[in-house]
């Protein structure tokens, strides 16, 4: 169940819009929160020197709250894992966002994991997709992500924390559903080559399911918004 909350902060510096999207997987409790700052003005936050002349710069930061896992995490951000997640998110969204339309500007995506029960990368990507869409940033397609694994000869989609901790192979896949292109593919632990196709297929199928949910939520939200605006 995805809840799309769009709160646009008032007058920030230069009228930047802040959009919040919350991706909540009901039941098992995997909540991710994504904030996206829209590149309305060609203003670079931070270093101007890093501005690219023909495209927008996508900056992603990942942080998981200290209370998100079973044991309290001591370092919410700045450790290698968070940096890596940030880089991967950035790679995913650089591929999906039409950066050519906003030269010399910066798009910031901040993702915060509130509750982690496995599949954090997928939750982050889904939340960020919603946030980016709501911010009005043009994208090629939805980016839907899902994790998959392989246990006892069966491919499983959307692993929970217990299944991940068991130590079997885990695959995280970010997909653009319309074209079937893979924006990011990441796999850990040993998996025999012959089973790769099966697991990829499971992850792709699950991502497409996620896409239907996201699509429905976005359409619903747009409908509500247009009713409120009285169109």
């Amino acid at each position: 169940m995805a809840v799309l909350q769009s709160r646009k902060a008032g007058d920030g510096e230069g009228g930047e819009g802040k959009v919040v999207a919350c991706w909540d997987v009901g039941g098992r409790g995997r909540k991710g929160l994504a904030h996206v700052f829209s590149p309305t003005l060609p203003q670079i936050r931070g270093s101007r020197a890093r501005a690219l002349p023909d495209r927008a710069l996508v900056n992603c930061q990942y942080s998981s709250a200290t209370f998100s896992t079973g044991e309290r995490k001591r370092r919410p951000h700045g450790d290698r894992k968070s940096c890596e997640m940030g880089l991967q998110l950035r790679q995913t969204f650089e591929a999906a966002i039409l950066t050519q339309l906003h030269p010399r500007s910066q798009i910031d995506i901040y993702v915060q994991v509130l509750q982690a029960d496995g599949g954090t990368y997928a939750a982050c990507v889904n939340a960020a997709t919603l946030a980016v869409l709501d911010a009005g940033i043009p994208m090629r397609d939805f980016v839907c992500a899902c994790s998959a694994g392989f246990v006892d000869g069966t491919a499983l989609a959307d692993l929970s924390h217990v299944e991940e901790a068991a130590g079997g192979p885990q695959l995280a896949l970010a997909l653009l559903p319309a074209s079937g292109q893979i924006a990011l593919l990441e796999m850990d632990a040993r998996l025999h080559e012959d089973h790769l196709e099966q697991v990829l297929e499971a992850a792709a199928w699950a991502s497409r399911d996620v896409h239907t949910v996201l699509d429905r939520v976005v359409r619903q939200h747009v409908q509500e918004a247009s009713v409120l605006l009285g169109d």
Partner: protein, 446 residues
């Protein structure tokens, strides 16, 4: 130092070559560069050369208390450092993204795949375990750091021997290297990373990209496998869009490559083992004698030159005929051989510096005297010679002497048409003043 940007023509050249399935060093699309593995005197030290990319790996161990939630397992720690000698672009503060990426990839490849049996590293459960630390240093960057680093890590781990330990009841005895032979680590399998570079939105694929190829690539796919065809890690990076069948094809290619590389590693380890057993000399010093470590040798690139003549003829026939000027010159003058190795054809075209000198002088007049002083000081000598050369009639005096006998020929011929009326007016006014002005400024500059 910032990385020198790749020029557009080089980029285009590389991409065109890749489209025609040619690589700069003559390899095929699925070929690896030469891999050389050499070992140091200590156990656990090795240098891996993948082409010119060099990685040094060193394994060390220590007895520590285990992690609280894993009381019976040893600790593995991996660290890859991009040394500043590897590339001018690597600076202490500047490398973070690449460093994080490489380190995480190596960690996932080697730790999550459980290639080392961590249970065997336990000495006393809950109190003492071995901490194995693998330090990798990149010594030279010529592309594909990941592959070289993963090979170095696994080779170093296979080569490493830890001190023997025995536990009797509550007593733990750690034997030194003299008392008992050190014990190798128990390694289940050898995961090796294979990198695939994608170009032109995934149309072209290369294995083991060199540094140039890495600069122009769209993205990278790294697949780590072992020789049993088990995939240990897959990581796509760089923002390319992959298709499922591309990934499957890459995994098949990776399987083949990994088997070859594993054989090579086994052979190298066996050789080193043999040399040590027979009491022969081993270590880097030994490799130095064969010029394997300190020298960079360029091997002959196996480029296919069979069709060079036809291609050359094609290009010449399709090329434009040389311009009129050159034709005239060439027909007029024949090559003159001064000495063996030095020949001259013609005397070049007319020098156009005279025109430039005119425009420089006009600029000086425009610009105000203050800013013109410095300009004058610098251009003074060149001004003399150039103006002399520029005029066709006067004798050419090529001397840098700073004597005062300066004959400045006034530019009364063709001022640029763009110039406005005012400038020509000042120019006309200036002649009488000019020589004096220039001399004064020259003394000031001196």
């Amino acid at each position: 130092m910032k990385e020198t940007p790749l020029s557009n023509c080089e980029r285009r050249f590389l991409l065109r070559a890749i489209e025609e399935k040619k690589r700069l060093d003559g390899r095929q699309t699925y070929d690896y560069r030469n891999i050389k593995i050499s070992f140091g005197t200590d156990y656990g030290c090795c240098i891996v050369e993948l082409g010119k990319t060099r990685v040094l790996g060193q394994v060390s161990c220590e007895l520590v208390s285990p992690k609280l939630n894993r009381a019976t397992e040893g600790i593995l720690f991996f660290n890859l450092e991009l040394s500043q000698m590897a590339a001018p672009a690597f600076e202490p503060g500047r490398q973070s993204d690449l460093l994080v990426k490489l380190n995480r990839l190596l960690e996932r490849c080697l730790r999550n795949s459980k290639c080392i049996d961590t249970e065997s590293l336990c000495v006393v459960a809950g109190e003492k375990v071995w901490q194995i630390r693998v330090d990798l240093h990149l010594l030279n960057h010529d592309g594909n750091i990941i592959d070289a680093a993963s090979i170095a890590a696994i080779v170093a781990l296979c080569h490493f021997r830890r001190p023997d330990v025995s536990v009797q009841g509550d007593e733990v005895t750690l034997y030194t290297l003299e008392e008992r032979d050190p014990v190798p680590l128990s390694i289940h399998h050898m995961p090796i990373c294979v990198s695939f570079a994608f170009f032109q939105q995934g149309t072209y694929l290369l294995v083991d990209p060199s540094e140039r190829e890495e600069r122009v690539m769209d993205g990278l796919l790294v697949i780590a496998m072992n020789k049993h065809r088990e995939i240990c890690t897959i990581q796509s990076s760089g923002g390319i869009m992959l298709l499922k069948d591309q990934v499957l094809r890459c995994s098949k290619i990776a399987g083949v490559k990994v088997v070859e590389i594993t054989e090579l590693i086994q052979k190298a380890l066996e050789n080193d083992q043999k040399v040590r057993k027979e009491g022969g000399k081993f270590g880097f010093a030994e490799s130095m004698a064969n010029q394997r470590i300190t020298a960079f040798k360029m091997e002959k690139a196996p480029i296919d030159t069979s069709d060079v003549e036809e291609k050359a003829e094609e290009i010449i026939s399709e090329a434009e005929p040389p311009s009129e000027v050159f034709l005239n010159l060439l027909s007029v003058s024949k090559p003159v051989l001064w000495t063996p190795g030095t020949a001259q054809i013609g005397e070049g075209i007319e020098n156009s510096w005279g025109h430039l000198e005119d425009s420089e002088k006009e600029d000086e007049d425009e610009g105000g005297s203050d800013e013109a002083t410095i300009l004058d000081g610098m251009k003074m000598d060149t001004g003399v010679e150039v103006s002399n050369i520029g005029s066709q009639d006067a004798p050419i005096v090529l001397s840098d002497s700073e004597e005062e006998e300066m004959i400045i020929l006034e530019p009364d011929k063709n001022p640029k048409k763009i110039r406005t009326q005012t400038i020509s007016a000042t120019q006309v006014k200036a002649p009488s003043k000019k020589p004096v002005k220039k001399r004064k400024k020259k003394r000031a500059a001196n």
